[in-house]
Symmetry: C2
Subunit: 126 residues, 2 copies
């Protein structure tokens, strides 16, 4: 048994200036920014989503700009295997998460639980 | 004066089988699907996001698969002009919405208000 749910969306920007990219998206969406501590803060800026349980982050990347979604799971490996049976492919393990590709072509990540309410609201898979 | 906020995310799938694409995303995210009435139902399938005020939809497209975000606004033209001053470019008007490109490279849409709570929660721009 494990749990998972949609965790949020990452706005991947091909830039070395993640703060500049985050300034645009902060102003466009009317959301405050929140710096992340440690090395994570070099590549990611969090956007504060009012009253929501999804996260939205701006990330500096070295590939083409895009938007990707994250699925949070209390057992990343079990969730990756469940998604493989649905037709998704494992692309790469990075730190604690796994990059996957959907049968419909989009890249997405399976990450550890990140948002409040996970225990109550996540889907339970047996 | 006008209002806007993040409306949701559209999972664009390069396919002629929008129901098949929606079956994957429904199972992956553990969300029920909801068919949309009329011609919209030929290209879009809604995913039911429990307790959230964002919409998530699967769309059949004829370009490369991606994820794009929507901003909802009670005055689409005023919102497009505000976003232009932030560096975004107008790509095309389609029906009641406008496709734009962010200075960070992603395509996104400005649409009419779609979700509950818009009047209370949207950002107010003067």
């Amino acid at each position: 048994m494990h749990r998972s749910r949609l965790a949020g969306f990452i706005i991947d920007c091909r830039t070395t200036d993640v703060d500049g990219a985050a300034r645009f998206w902060s102003a466009a969406l009317g959301m405050a920014t929140e710096s992340l501590p440690g090395p994570e803060g070099d590549s990611y800026v969090k956007l504060v989503v009012p009253g929501e349980r999804l996260h939205v982050e701006v990330q500096a990347v070295d590939h083409d700009s895009r938007v990707h979604l994250d699925i949070e799971a209390d057992d990343v490996e079990a969730e990756v295997e469940r998604l493989e049976t649905l037709g998704a492919k494992r692309v790469k393990n990075v730190h604690s998460w796994t990059i996957m590709e959907a049968p419909t072509g989009q890249r997405f990540c399976v990450v550890r639980p990140q948002n409040k309410g996970f225990e109550q609201d996540a889907n339970v898979w047996k």
